[in-house]
């Protein structure tokens, strides 16, 4: 039931936790200190690939102040975020596979003793040949994992929807391009940290900066062989996540094990350098795309290939692989679509999910490719996109169900606000504008572990003073999920969201939510909160109807009262209403839940990309380029986003601006770079994230399409707005200088190389020449969905 007008939904309201944040009172994991707490540290591999031939911890154990030392033998059970990729050891057993992989750990009375303890651990290694790149990985010489498909192939996919051969035959123009996206990392300002405490009652409690307390709970249960009921995971406020705190991590398991060993609390806080080795960031992806167009720009077929550099372990990589092929169809109608992808293992820190998970790379390729095709066909960038737009309430060729879709309006608004039509191709040399669009999932349609239970559960308890407590396992990672849930519950119960007690992200106290990933919390936990709040409201309204001797249908809840609308004398304050309800029906508590509808298509791999709703974004970026130095100054970014409905416009704008910022960083400067298998510079000086002086003003435009399944119609905003920024920058640089940098990040040296090439009569392109040879085998042919058949 949607209220005719909103009391709280929509308006820009401060976060419910802002007061603590601005006074230094927010307790992050490393801010914790427990009586008797020890400090843990991990010893890490100096080799990219080696056998461990000997580990001797006796000297470390003998050091005064060292309370425990553990090695891989103490944690022999493997784990991993995906059920199919249980390939990690908390501490390497027998073999190390990347520089920085944890090998042993100590717990000591203080940080300095722990560091000295590490120095006393003797490890002998026998180096093995290393594999550092996608090309090398395909060469069969040395296997990083004994298992898998051989040739260091983690997994390959080949799917054909419809018949691309027919589609290409129908084309008037076919274009092929190759792109490289070099990979980046989250670099949240807070380094990962965890405090574990194993109690005398045999219960383990761990406080961790994690986006996924539920999955950490599962991993600890497995690796520590403790019953889940004896483990409590509490997610502390996360000082930035972006996907970087979405795996169960070695330091969490190790802290727990060390606490079990010593019977004392143990804290492990990663150094900034260790965070770079922990990684799970954006996969480097080499891409090849071939698309057929009619003269008017209509797409007839697309063939997309991706080669992912996964690093040393699986992590989310299997999902990432499919994501690089899944969402191309959510912005454009593609009647015949073929996707081939392969993820390889290399001796580098594992890649995983970073904001946009596997979709910014193909989106960069696709949107640059479309601009190039538009130029071939004499079309402008707006026309070619509008010609192919997906329709609201349609199904894509790969069986993704599109519901509300404001992409057309996003494009119109962003084009109008930026004056794109008057600028594209018309600005003086060195200045240019670029356009790109995108779509993103509002929550993964399936849980990581397939089951029939809800993906999100929320409970609400009301005390006799009218106080409302909301319980949800969703972890606030800075996106404001706690504030969003408070807004939803407050709206339903007519109470100021700031007055609600929010208990979140604690496996002992809160019912399950799968976690803060895949942009799922507003939609899924939001719907669960909505249901729980409505149940509370209905119980209270029934009691008040009884109390006032009226019928329920004339009663409204709002402004802290329950009563007949427009008749203040026939209404009672919320606390009285609550007491009336408790008097009649007992304790006032309710739960709600959300389970996504069944959406998967009839093919293997269809679980990736499905979502109950998609957000849509369009971006225009204006740049001023220094043709001599290659420096690209972004003047302004306009970003229109179909949010469904903004539950809190301040938080929505914050996510848009933050997504644009992160996109600009990836587009122009950020790279998780290596020399062979060794990180080039694991520090915030060497990893170039933009400063105050490197970012432009951002104009956010909210498009509201009111999704029928979202809470109050809301969709996601945490990830989508990043996606179009990167190709829009690349397209703007092309508009400004006439050069095509088909490789991200677009650093000044690449721009200068392209300008020099142009000056010598070349094409002015910098980018990869080709993708490696790989036999994807026969594609799994999938018939197009019924409604799309000719």
């Amino acid at each position: 039931m949607i209220a005719p007008r909103f009391s709280f939904v929509g308006s820009g309201r401060p976060r419910v936790d802002a007061g603590d944040q601005v006074s230094g009172r927010t307790v992050f994991a490393d801010d914790m200190s427990l009586p008797g707490m020890l400090i843990g540290r991990q010893l890490r591999s100096p080799h990219g690939h080696a056998r461990i031939t000997r580990i001797d911890v006796r000297r470390a154990l003998a050091l005064e102040g060292v309370e425990a030392v553990i090695t891989g033998a103490d944690l022999p059970i493997t784990y991993g975020i995906l059920p199919v990729s249980q390939d990690e050891h908390a501490l390497a057993l027998e073999r190390v596979r990347y520089v920085g992989e944890p090998v042993a750990a100590v717990a000591a009375v203080d940080a300095e003793t722990a560091a000295r303890g590490l120095e006393l651990i003797e490890v002998e290694y026998e180096p093995i040949e290393e594999t550092a790149s996608i090309d090398e990985a395909a060469t069969d010489r040395v296997l990083i994992h004994g298992e898998g498909l051989g040739r260091n192939v983690h997994r390959a996919a080949s799917l054909e929807f419809g018949d691309v051969a027919t589609g290409f035959e129908e084309a008037d123009h076919i274009r092929e391009d190759v792109y490289d996206f070099r990979g980046s990392t989250h670099a949240a300002l807070e380094q990962h940290a965890a405090v574990a405490s194993f109690g005398t009652d045999g219960r383990l409690t761990i406080w961790s900066s994690t986006q996924v307390p539920h999955y950490l709970h599962r991993a600890l249960e497995k690796v520590l062989e403790l019953p889940a009921a004896q483990i409590r995971v509490v997610a502390t406020p996360v000082g930035g996540g972006f996907g970087g705190k979405t795996d169960p991590f070695s330091h969490e398991i190790v802290a727990a094990r060390l606490s079990m060993e010593t019977g004392r609390p143990v804290k492990i806080t990663l150094s900034r350098e260790e965070v770079f080795y922990t990684h799970r960031g954006r996969h480097p992806v080499l891409m090849w795309v071939r698309t057929g167009f009619r003269r008017d720009g209509t797409i007839t077929a697309m063939h997309f290939r991706t080669h992912l550099d996964g690093g040393a372990f699986g992590s989310y990589g299997l999902a990432t692989l499919y994501y690089t092929g899944a969402l191309q169809t959510t912005t454009y109608r593609i009647p015949h679509y073929k996707f081939e992808g392969v993820r390889v293992f290399t001796n580098k820190p594992p890649c995983g999910p970073k904001r946009g998970h596997g979709t910014p790379q193909p989106r960069f390729a696709l949107e640059c490719h479309l601009d190039a095709a538009a130029a071939d066909l004499g079309l402008d960038p707006v026309t070619i996109r509008v010609r192919n737009l997906v329709e609201p309430y349609s199904t894509t060729v790969n069986y993704l169900r599109i519901t509300s879709c404001g992409l057309r309006e996003c494009i119109e608004k962003v084009v109008a606000a930026s004056g794109f039509g008057d600028k594209h191709g018309k600005l003086p040399p060195g200045r240019g504008v670029g356009l790109a669009v995108s779509a993103y999932m509002t929550g993964a349609g399936l849980p990581i572990y397939f089951n029939d239970m809800p993906q999100s559960e929320v409970s609400i308890k009301v005390d006799r003073g009218g106080g409302v407590t909301v319980f949800s396992m969703a972890a606030d990672v800075g996106q404001g999920s706690t504030s969003v849930l408070a807004t939803i519950v407050g709206e339903v119960l007519g109470l100021d969201p700031a007055t609600l007690a929010m208990v979140t992200a604690d496996t002992d106290l809160t019912p399950v939510d799968l976690g803060s990933y895949s942009s799922r919390v507003t939609f899924m936990a939001g719907n669960a909160a909505l249901e729980a709040a409505e149940r509370i409201r209905d119980t209270v309204v029934a009691a008040v109807a009884d109390e006032l001797g009226t019928t329920r249908d004339v009663l409204v809840v709002g402004d802290g009262r329950v009563g007949v609308e427009g008749a203040p004398e026939k209404s009672i304050p919320w606390p009285d209403a609550v007491r009336a309800a408790i008097s009649r029906t007992g304790p006032l508590a309710a739960s709600g839940s959300y389970t996504a509808p069944t959406l998967a298509g009839p093919y293997k791999g269809s679980g990736v990309g499905i979502s109950p709703a998609y957000s849509f974004s369009a971006a225009v970026v204006e740049v001023e380029c220094d043709a001599e130095t290659g420096h690209v100054r972004v003047e302004r970014v306009w970003l229109a986003h179909d949010i469904g409905r903004a539950l809190n416009s301040l938080l929505v704008e914050g996510q848009i601006e933050g997504g644009v910022y992160m996109g600009l960083g990836e587009a122009l400067m950020e790279e998780q770079a290596y020399r062979g298998t060794l990180h080039r510079g694991p520090s915030l000086l060497d990893y170039k994230m933009p400063t105050f002086l490197d970012v432009p003003p951002v104009e956010s435009i909210l498009v509201e399409t009111v999704d029928p399944e979202g809470p109050f119609g809301a969709k996601e905003v945490g990830q989508g707005p990043l996606l179009p920024v990167i190709p829009a920058v690349a397209n703007a640089i092309h508009d400004a200088l006439g050069v095509r940098i088909d490789e991200v990040p677009i650093t000044p040296d690449k721009v200068v190389r392209a300008m020099r090439d142009l000056a010598r009569g070349g094409s002015g392109r910098v980018g990869p020449a080709s993708v490696p040879e790989f036999d994807f085998g026969r594609a799994n042919r999938v018939a197009v969905p019924e409604g799309l058949r000719p």
Partner: protein, 322 residues
């Protein structure tokens, strides 16, 4: 959190005492603000057992005009004060204002920046990282990973102030056990990434003197990926005096952050004297300046790019001084 290795901190109250402390404690070193030294110590690039703090010594802070019309800047003057001091030559203010971040400029000193350690992507990393790569020459190993065939360390001079100071003809005063001496700022540097400062360990840089400008106009341009925080990956300081007819009477150009020491672009200076700064002359000056430059891939962005930018930045500096 990375922590400092243990050391003793001695606070000197006079220069003489500081010199004595340095002499009496082998392996000791001076600390000004420590914004360069302390990160290097956290990474265990250096591990002095004793630090001699100069902070309590009177007279080392401040900027004053001397009786010749030049300037004297105390070694402990913070960079922010240099950048904000309206009267100082343009190159020096620009260089000081471009260092790192406002917080660092609030404490980092002139002396510290002039003596800032050379940098290289193989040395400005943790002990654990260096163990993975194998120690380089500067880390006590026997190979330079940047140029493995040679025997020289190619760590990059990373001071912003030095190129500016050198083109302005600055000199530095050094106080040591044997008394004091004043040397041209240019002579403070050696083309060796390890032993890059021509100053004894127990000598203290106390002040920088800049002679009167006598018509010199100067500027400093800095190349880096971001507009803040980053060290230079090329710094071009230029000072030019032209006559009323626009003809260059004197030109000084120094390239920073491109080699183990600031490089004087002597051939370019020679080429410019007697010419007007026409577009053609400026173009050629850039070409000449970049000719002998051979940067390595040991800092940010590529070596080829930094060589190309040497020409570009020299031209831009000269255009500013036209």
């Amino acid at each position: 959190m990375m922590r400092l290795p243990a050391f003793s901190l001695l606070a000197a109250s006079t220069l003489a005492e500081a010199v004595e402390m340095l002499r009496d404690h082998p392996g000791s070193t001076v600390i000004g603000a420590g914004t360069d030294l302390l990160p290097n110590m956290k990474r265990r690039q250096v591990r002095p057992a004793t630090l001699v703090s100069l902070g309590a010594i009177p007279g080392l802070v401040g900027i004053r005009r001397d009786d010749t019309g030049g300037w004297v800047i105390g070694a402990l003057t913070v960079l922010g004060d240099v950048a904000r001091f309206p009267d100082l030559p343009g190159a020096l203010r620009a260089a000081a204002g471009s260092v790192a971040s406002p917080q660092i400029r609030n404490t980092a000193t002139v002396g510290g920046n002039l003596c800032v350690d050379t940098r290289c992507s193989f040395i400005n990393v943790t002990e654990e990282w260096r163990a993975a790569s194998g120690p380089c020459l500067k880390a006590g190993g026997d190979v330079c990973w940047v140029a493995p065939k040679g025997e020289q360390c190619w760590a990059v001079s990373s001071t912003d102030l030095a190129p500016a100071a050198i083109v302005l003809g600055a000199s530095v005063r050094l106080v040591g056990p044997g008394g004091e001496r004043t040397i041209p700022a240019a002579d403070l540097y050696r083309p060796d990434g390890i032993d890059h400062i021509a100053k004894a360990r127990d000598e203290i840089l106390t002040e920088v003197s800049i002679p009167p400008l006598a018509g010199l106009r100067s500027t400093y341009l800095k190349l880096r990926r971001r507009q803040a925080v980053d060290f230079p990956i090329l710094g071009v300081a230029a000072a030019v005096r032209t006559g009323d007819d626009g003809i260059v009477e004197e030109a000084r150009i120094v390239l920073g952050a491109i080699a183990p020491a600031p490089l004087r672009a002597a051939a370019t200076e020679e080429f410019l004297v007697g010419k007007r700064l026409t577009p053609e002359v400026v173009e050629e000056a850039g070409r000449i300046a970049a000719l002998p430059v051979r940067p390595f891939d040991n800092t940010d962005l590529g070596s080829r790019y930094r060589k190309w930018m040497t020409a570009t930045f020299v031209r831009r500096a000269l255009r500013e001084l036209e």
